[in-house]
């Protein structure tokens, strides 16, 4: 690599920083809205069209949710202004650790190691006020 290549690389790095800054500036104040039940159901229907939802719990900060469909937990977590969706065994999701109002569900994938969601209580209470089992 000669000096010309290094200069080219440095200029490119500055250009990347400039473009990222510009993207941040231009998208400021345009954060994705918090997830509501209708949006969560729509997303889950797109991602898991063959699953029948029994219950749905939304994260307190609107950045995700968990639905139960039989033996599965259907997990949604915001990433940027999009969402990650995964199917996890319900019992594993139920046993996930909760600390400081956040539950960490292990997804065990190199590209998606975990989903961290804001839930004051975990496992989530059912409509009758009991912990979902």
């Amino acid at each position: 690599m000669n000096i010309g290549n290094l200069i080219q690389l440095a200029v490119s790095a500055v250009a990347v920083a400039l473009l990222v800054g510009m993207a941040a500036l231009m998208t400021r104040g345009r954060a994705a809205p918090p997830l509501d039940e209708a949006a969560a159901r729509r997303l889950l229907a797109e991602e898991f069209p063959d699953d029948r939802l029994e219950s749905l719990w939304l994260a307190a900060d609107g950045r995700g949710g968990v639905a139960r469909a039989g033996k599965w937990a259907l997990v949604l977590m915001r990433i940027g202004d999009g969402y990650l969706a995964r199917r996890v065994v319900w019992r594993e999701a139920q046993a996930a650790q909760s600390r400081g109002g956040r539950v960490t569900i292990a997804l065990r994938e190199p590209g998606a190691p975990r989903a961290v969601l804001a839930f004051a209580a975990w496992p989530p209470p059912t409509a009758k006020g009991e912990a979902a089992t």
């Binding site: 490119s12 473009l19 990222v20 231009m26 063959d50 990650l84 997804l107 994938e109 190199p110 590209g111």
Partner: protein, 306 residues
């Protein structure tokens, strides 16, 4: 001062200016484009580092091309117009098969997946390039061109032309091009389909410049007004960590091989999502499930005239 002949280097200022233009015009509602800061940072950083990541293998791939050229079947002059026409078609056909292989076999998908890992589709997505393409060895697919007699420099320039062409089609700002253009060339509309994760759109439109290869080999799918593309991966990433974005599929392959080494060939060369017990989703299983759902839907009731 030496003038660069690499089309990608020459086009870099255009890449930067056009991304700025797309961001600004989208902000003021003048065109359709969606940007997100972290996503943009990942795309551009991937692009920046990709220019370095190819260097360790560049010597080997160049030497291999030179060796092939020394053992060429014909001598094709770099100064003849017909030779450039020929290399255009030959390179574009090679690109089609490279791209198809990169989607349909996991070892090469591992190198290509990061180009598809954004949930956005804008000009910055075009720059989200692989760091592991050289290691994956797909450059070898272009060696037959040198063996045929195309000078390696000619092949390299044509590869650059193809890469530059494919930049502008990564946008939602352009709807559809004129019909004749859509029929022959790869366009933003065709390539939106390629980047979509809707089952109907998976593994379609592999073209570089000419969409005719997809029409010829049965992988063409037009963009449908009733089904907007949803971008990204079948299982989207849960991180913006550059290292995870770049290497997650390679790590996944390694984990699978360590867990079940007797299926090594399947883990490496099966389609993405392949597993010995069929418990994971491949494009084929997703399409089959989607088709079954379509067929199970009740047919629309025809209203008879009163």
């Amino acid at each position: 001062m030496k003038i660069p002949t690499d089309p990608v280097t020459l086009a870099t200022p255009f890449f930067i200016l056009s991304v700025i233009l797309e961001i600004v015009l989208a902000r003021f509602g003048k065109l359709k484009a969606r940007y997100e800061t972290k996503d943009t940072a990942v795309s551009l950083s991937m692009g920046l580092v990709s220019t370095l990541s190819g260097l360790p293998i560049a010597g080997l791939s160049f030497a291999a091309a030179i060796w092939c050229y020394h053992h060429r079947l014909f001598t094709i002059p770099m100064t003849a117009v017909w030779a450039w026409v020929l290399v255009f078609f030959a390179e574009d056909l090679t690109y089609y098969w490279f791209h198809r292989l990169s989607h349909e076999r996991r070892a090469w998908w591992a190198a290509h997946v990061n180009h598809h890992s954004s949930q956005h589709y804008n000009l910055s997505t075009a720059l989200r390039q692989t760091w592991t393409g050289g290691v994956a060895g797909t450059w070898a697919l272009w060696l037959p061109l040198s063996l045929l007699g195309f000078p390696p420099a000619m092949v390299a320039i044509e590869k650059g032309v193809s890469l530059v062409y494919q930049y502008w089609i990564h946008t939602e700002a352009i709807g559809r091009m004129p019909r004749w253009f859509e029929a022959v060339f790869n366009t933003p509309s065709h390539h939106r389909v390629h980047h979509a994760r809707n089952p109907r759109y998976l593994d379609k439109n592999y073209a570089g410049i000419l969409i005719v290869w997809d029409r010829l080999f049965g992988t063409f799918q037009p963009e449908l007004d009733e089904e907007a593309p949803r971008y990204g991966l079948v299982h989207n990433l849960g991180t913006f960590n550059l290292l995870r974005v770049a290497f997650h599929e390679w790590i996944g392959i390694a984990q699978d091989i360590v867990r079940e080494p007797r299926h090594t060939l399947g883990w490496l060369f099966g389609p993405p999502g392949w597993s010995p017990d069929g418990s994971r989703d491949t494009s084929a299983t997703l399409k089959t499930a989607w088709l079954a759902r379509q067929e199970a839907k009740p047919a629309p009731v025809k209203r008879e005239a009163a």
